[in-house]
């Protein structure tokens, strides 16, 4: 088994499984977050957020998600280091743009920038809600819960800098996924002559939905309030 984890295709297998797991997470995350802009009273989002933190299934999935991120990130550096080593003497002149996309060649750069965003994002919300207790209590339909809506809306209404950071975060994720999505299926061998181009198109659509979906939220608060 350890041989499999360090073999080139084994490493890629880990990247694609963890990547696809994160892809599924993002879809759920975006669906919940879009409630932020569909109900200005914040009730819908608060109820959904409360449901997410109290739901036993989510409690189990949360550590798994952390693990998924860790594995994806650690393996990405490991894999890129191995690939970098495979060419000890670099070319003096390169013209790679004719044969491949910038995105596909710079997944580590995009991933690392997403990681920076991720850290900022965790400090902004997750950390405050879970550990520092800087979030107000609110009662909706007789149930006590955290007022997550005010925390998020507050940040987006008051800080243009953070609005920009979150828009950039969404766009970076979109680029990462415009290559990552179909690449993950290709790595798993779930692709062939017909399906390769289909997966590339589905991946592009998914990437655009993620990029637009996440960036629209801070923009909504910035423009409306």
């Amino acid at each position: 088994m350890s041989k499999f984890l360090t073999a080139s295709i084994g490493r890629k297998f880990i990247m694609s499984i963890s990547g696809l797991f994160l892809v599924m997470f993002l879809a759920v995350h975006l669906s919940v977050n879009l409630l932020l802009i569909f109900d200005d009273s914040g009730e819908l989002f608060n109820i959904a957020a409360h449901f997410m933190v109290t739901n036993p299934l989510i409690r189990i999935v949360e550590p798994l998600l952390g693990l998924g991120f860790l594995v994806h990130i650690i393996w990405s550096f490991f894999l890129e280091y191995q690939n970098w080593k495979a060419r000890p003497v670099k070319y003096n002149q390169k013209n790679p743009a004719v044969a491949s996309t910038w995105t596909s060649r710079n997944m580590l750069v995009l991933g690392a920038l997403v990681l920076v965003f991720l850290i900022i994002h965790i400090i902004n919300f997750y950390w405050v809600i879970r550990f520092t207790g800087g979030v107000q209590e609110i009662t909706i339909n007789g149930e006590h819960m955290e007022d997550t809506y005010s925390l998020v809306a507050g940040l987006f209404k008051t800080s243009v800098i953070y609005d920009i950071i979150y828009v950039l975060g969404g766009i970076l994720l979109g680029f990462h996924l415009s290559h990552g999505f179909w690449s993950a299926f290709h790595t798993l061998g779930l692709s062939n002559k017909q399906w390769m181009s289909r997966l590339q198109i589905i991946g592009k659509i998914y990437a655009v939905i993620i990029a637009v979906g996440f960036s629209i939220i801070p923009l909504y608060f910035l423009i409306k309030f």
Binding site: I9, Q82, N92, V98, L188, G189, M196
Partner: protein
Amino acid sequence: MADKILKKLNIKVWRQNNAQDKGRFETYTIENISTGSSFLEMLDILNNNLIEEGKDPIAFDHDCREGICGTCSLFINGRAHGPDTEVTTCQLHMRKFKDGETITIEPWRAAAFPVIKDLVVDRTAFEKILQAGGYISVNTGGVPDANAIPISHEDAEESMDAASCIGCGACVAACKNSSAMLFVSAKVAHLAKLPQGKVEAKSRARKMVAKMDELGFGGCTNTGACEVECPKSISITNIARLNREYLTARFSE
């Protein structure tokens, strides 16, 4: 119509005396090259000049000069086999270049393809990958009747497409990871599509990939550069097939 003449070209080329030498770039000028001549003919003329000047001619690999042997491994102006698609270096023509241009020529760069001299690299690594599993060891008997083993038209076509790989190494040279996945996948797909090769398909994928890793080639990140630079347009869908064969082999062990 007569071919145009390129009055002057600057040729910036990698010179390295032997495998241990550090190597450096040298720039030579060459005059009056017909656009109708091939890239290798241009190098022949340059070498003649160098010999006449008492200098060491530039070593480069070549054999068939018609796009079938795969030895002419030159990285020209930042691209494997230069600025044309679906050709080897020997099929590249000087009409692809402009008068007065500086042409940069480098050897394939990969840990698994060490430079022997100037532009010549050692591609024994491909041989070793083939020896690890790129063959059929089941006894296939004598020559069978033409229609004794039915093979669908589609399978025959796909197998033939994969079999057109000439082992030139452009896929490795063009890949940002120096990965040999397109080459290996072509060999695996070529044999796995036929009944005689199917028997060993899984162990073949496992052995060839293990050898590829051991020899220091990088892993595939699906950039697709190999397919674009491959002179035989081997499709990266073969890589998906190789991944599939390899993963099912590992999980059914």
